[in-house]
Amino acid sequence: MKKTFAFVIVFALLTSTLLAGCAGEPEVITETIIETVVVTEVVEQEVIVTEEVIIEKEVEVPAEPEDVTLTYFTFSAAPDHLEDLDEMIAIFEAEHPKIHIEVQTATWDDYFTKLQTLIAGGEAPDIFELNYENFVSYAAKGVLLNLEPFAQADPAYDETIYYPRALEAFQYNEMQLGMPETFSTVVLYYNKDAFDAAGIDYPAENWTWDEAKEAGKAIMAANDGMWGIHSGIQFWEFYKKAAQNNCEFFNDDQTEVLINSPECVAALETMLSLLDEGVMPSNEEMAGVSDGDMFTNGELGMLVSGIWMFTAFENAPFNWDIQVEPGMETQATHFFSNAVNVFAGTQNPDAAYEWVKFFTSDPNMAEIRINTGWELPTLDNPEYVAGYLAQSPPDNRQAVFDSLQYAIVPPVIERQNEMTDAVGAALEQAVLGILTPQEALDQAKIDVEALLN
């Protein structure tokens, strides 16, 4: 018995020393390296004293004291644009030899779970990407660094180069907590061949949903096995179509929920009418195939989706183009933007600001983005726009920018994810016919009110 216990203790001790050894080793190595660096610097300085004055001046130029490694956590690069990101980093590091960027990446589905864990676990990346909808939650929790003082101290900073709307989107309590990196809009894609077969006109910029529905019916009559249109019935589509019908989710100071107003109900009824009149396939009828894939397969005449689908449709075996999305009482379109944000607790805020500045405004960065189709830089620069418009398909790229005129931002509250879920659940009940549009939105009002308090 005693022997066994002795064995267990010895084993435990052995394991802990072994494991401690594993953990400790790299640290020792880093320390030695730093020491060597210091030594060489001293040697250099001594050499300089004995040499010519000109050399001494050259050495003095880099003011940064030592090398800095920053971690940058991104969702938008993986998997297709990792190489483009590497290319940008190479340019940045050439310009800033003392700053090294270490990329960490996760896919969209896991990104925010991992980011939360990293921050909670004290391993937060120095710089990370946030989309607008998530920005507010992070801003409210105080984990984002205010970039305003850095921008003001920077003589080269010029806020007029950004689209003002994008810059405003990442302000919170009058602090600039993120710099806009890219934007995208949502447009109406249409299958030109299907329109030709039906003998009807292509969509116009000021189309209404009723016109789109009629065109959808004509397409279905003329093209076998093709649905008219798809435009999902979920939170994101709903707040946009609500805005098209002058429906607001909240009053101005967000004290009252107005989501069940007659305008909102009418907007939802218009959305549901696409399903009820058989112009749009239901989820069951789509059988797990995404709307984008249906469009590529020639099973959809029209589709409301983001400009990020350009690459996916590039090789579609038919002609297609885009137009500004149809409206109701007025036009309203999606505007999505991603920003780069600096962690409030970073050890190297100055270096982090340099990367943020480069990654949102550098001409080299913008050029790579446009040439590789990695979303659009939020830079209001006619040169970039021209470069983008010159590409094809689609021919009518102007619609991307025309959509910007009608761009709205989503209603955002601090408990954003919960609101998305609550409204989404109510919409689903309406789609399934369990609740009428009015009942569904009455329900959504009660649920969202609970989240405001």
Binding site: C22, D80, D109, T117, D293, N297, W308, M309, T311, A312
Partner: protein, 277 residues
């Protein structure tokens, strides 16, 4: 029963049913392989092509360019093998204590240990992450491996198996002056080989497929395991299915080989534990 089965009509019917069931299991595998050999624009073509008209290994090539897949395979093996060995050592030792040694509070401790099976891993992931940070093990193999080494399941499985071994065997050994260590190592372990093999198979599979923990604890592509790397292939809006399927083939092949080698133990594992991996 025997008579009815032997009648040819029954046999044909039986085989027909078996073929249909086997096909439902097998077709997705074939589809995966077929998709991995297609070019992206043909992946969703209608009507579906079961045999790609122009098979190509391009997606495998792209896969290697995009991510250090070779490195990830090695990582997965390092993790899976270490976890398997670790689980066998920790599980069998704990199981021996719970099955054979008498001390006060043993059953309470055992029950408490078993109760940890009920706690979903999502709950413990943040504290675990903080613990790993204090140890400086973020982005290290030991960081991925160590939390997976200790499982109540393995201890439970082996304890149940140790309990079935007749005590007479070891009593004879004790009389001859053997220590607990000798009995454990020379008698219990050799006799329990089937149970150990079952645990090894489970542990390997669990570690090979583990996703959430390796995802959280690794940032560096050179430490990532296959499932984490595979997930990186999913875009936010688009997924190139031929790439994902090529990655899936690469991930599954080693498991398939191990499965074919250890098929017996898989079956026994399902029988003894009532669990399917």
């Amino acid at each position: 029963m025997q008579k009815r089965l032997s009648s040819p009509i029954m046999k044909i019917a039986l085989y027909a049913v078996l073929i249909v069931v086997a096909a439902t299991m097998f077709v997705p595998f074939l589809w995966m392989i077929s998709t991995s050999l297609k070019e992206n624009q043909f992946v969703l073509s209608m009507p579906p092509e079961f045999f790609p008209a122009a098979p190509t290994l391009e997606s495998y090539q792209q896969l290697l360019e995009l991510l250090p897949f070779g490195r990830m395979i090695v990582n997965s093996f390092i993790v899976a093998i270490s976890v398997t060995i670790g689980q066998i050592i920790s599980g069998s030792m704990a199981a021996y204590v719970f099955a054979r040694m008498e001390f006060r509070g043993r059953d309470v401790i055992f029950l408490a240990y078993l109760a940890t099976l009920m706690i979903p891993s999502q709950v413990t992931i943040v504290p675990l992450f903080i613990l790993m940070r204090y140890l400086g093990w973020i982005n290290t193999y030991q960081g991925i491996i160590s939390p997976m080494v200790f499982t109540a399941f393995g201890t439970f499985l082996l304890r149940q198996s140790f309990l079935t071994i007749p005590k007479d065997l070891e009593e004879a050994a004790f009389i001859d002056g053997a220590s607990h260590w000798t009995v454990f190592w020379k008698i219990i372990m050799p006799v329990s080989r089937p149970a150990l093999a079952t645990l090894a198979v489970f542990a390997f599979m669990q570690a090979w497929n583990a996703y959430l923990w390796p995802l959280f604890v690794t940032n560096d592509e050179n430490i990532m395991t296959l499932p984490v790397g595979l997930a990186l292939l999913h875009g936010r809006y688009l997924t190139e299915w031929n790439l994902v399927m090529a990655g899936a083939v690469v991930t599954i092949v080693p498991m398939l080989i191990i499965y074919l080698m250890a098929q017996d133990y898989f079956v026994k594992g399902v029988v003894t534990s009532g669990l399917k991996g």
